[in-house]
Symmetry: C2
Amino acid sequence: MTRLSSEDDFLAAIDRHFTNAHPHLCVGRGDDCAVIACPPRMAVSTDLFNEHSHFRTSYFTPGDIGHKALAVNISDLAACGARPLGFSLALTAPADLSREFCDEMLGAMAALAREHDVALSGGDLTRGDALSLCITVWGGPAPRPAHAAGVGAGGENGGDGGVVGEGSGTHPHPAVDGTSPFLRRGGCQPGDQLFLVGRVGLARVGLLALESMGAEAARLYPEACRAHLRPRPQVAAGQALAAICGAGDARIALMDVSDGLARDLPRLIGADRGSGLGAELAMDAEALPDEVRAYALANDLDPVDMAFTGGEDYALLGCCRPAMFDAVRTAVPGLTALGQVTADGVVQVNGDLPASAGFDHFSG
Amino acid sequence: MTRLSSEDDFLAAIDRHFTNAHPHLCVGRGDDCAVIACPPRMAVSTDLFNEHSHFRTSYFTPGDIGHKALAVNISDLAACGARPLGFSLALTAPADLSREFCDEMLGAMAALAREHDVALSGGDLTRGDALSLCITVWGGPAPRPAHAAGVGAGGENGGDGGVVGEGSGTHPHPAVDGTSPFLRRGGCQPGDQLFLVGRVGLARVGLLALESMGAEAARLYPEACRAHLRPRPQVAAGQALAAICGAGDARIALMDVSDGLARDLPRLIGADRGSGLGAELAMDAEALPDEVRAYALANDLDPVDMAFTGGEDYALLGCCRPAMFDAVRTAVPGLTALGQVTADGVVQVNGDLPASAGFDHFSG
């Protein structure tokens, strides 16, 4: 194993894996700043991916680390229905990080970047005791397909790539012709339909199995381990949902489920900001992923509770008016109806109050 | 001292110090992504500011940490002549970080943010053994004052907020009317004039004094300690230089001196990328800051060598054609002529080859 011996070594590794030419990169890496080409509005998000807090090198391969660090960031763009454009990477790396580790980590990150056509604009490198990847990602409004004119009246009155959401004091910005609005949380009402794109609970099973069995867990729970190690951001689904949104009630509230439904659902409906709303969820244990049910059975746990509290699946959690739900189902085939928003400020699952409150990376 | 006990505690602290309303913030903090209003081109940069690598809590106050973490990022925008618009903050914090520490750190960061009118769009928080701040900052082209039409022919032929520089395969993008181009490194020629905005060597003296004496150093070397702890990004000077740039030879190469002239000057003139250029610098020991000379005398060091190798002053290092230097001096009164670019691939200081090569945060 060869150690990365200098910042120049690392920059050379970056250049081996990431092209420095991209339609949205006017000046690429190698200057004080990159210069990026921007639509009038962009969605931007920053996520840390830190050893010990978010991953262990004992069972994450370098490729898993590189993939997931970028995937969790792209998932935030998916949650806004945005089109990913670029990202920056700040790496804190131990002195003994090998060239091979670095190449495998950057290679997997670059593969995901190519899949979503995002440019690496630059970043920073410093030594530290633990490995840490800090990524900031940005994206533009998704192109609106010609057949998806938006339900309702949105999109005609000029402006630029806009925002549809609760507004909370701000007037919602209609989207420009040809692009979809950015989606956000909130703006929900009692009776609204809640839905889920992707599955929940698997990544938590993967985490628990990997923590107790190490890499061996992949033999017993392959799908769950993969969900934890290599999450797939739901970019296409997010964009498809944005494409059917317009003004007024043709609106979808959307977020990604990173901390688990138990913590994230109240955020979607604004219960954490005093909306007073609740939800009544129907989660069929029989419909949960096989490995969630198997793990729960083997460990005397409730599979529905695992699915409700488990985080890091990066599914999309959405909410729309009941009249819009058919259009939602058509836009994203295979999504799951999850329940209804209620006025009583309480979240119930299958008629019961759930026991758990989910996970806080800081206090947890 | 009260500990920050949860992510919500931290977010409340953020909200106490940073407004969530800004003309360039369409959707502020609290969603999966912020939505930002963007000019057609933006300069973007990411810098880590890590305990042990970049600062010690033994002599950095929490306010110094908050200030410098943002200042070094804004300095990258200054180096491009850009106007700062927004930033994101990812914080890795030890479990015992107190509310008071956090308030003082964020307060100083917020003061600098207000000074430059930049919005905090969001970020992330995770626990870790060492304190780490990762900031990504973005900015737009600076407004071009009416009297600064640009020397030469630039700025008339449409396009958008553009880039002036060496191009390296890319055609330089002219600036739109009313805005200045972004400046970058390279494009230098033998005979070009090198200049410096701000002073060099002070921050290195501050670092050495603080490392050996701790906070006591501020009594002996107040200016040097302040240079190290609270650097001032040269935003106004960067914008003033961008304002006099156009196309063709009305061009300024610019960067900020973060790693010291010894390492950064070769980057400005492209010597690290095979330009084959060198430089002949004239650095008068008598003209160096008093505290650099005093520290060098007291420690049997060469003051010119300290000024040449010392990093983290965040001065701006520039280069222009000789015919443009009068305009440069007028745009930024008080800047220092540093020497000339040469064709011989060697950097000389006062006719000698310098001994030192500067500092690499990764291998150093």
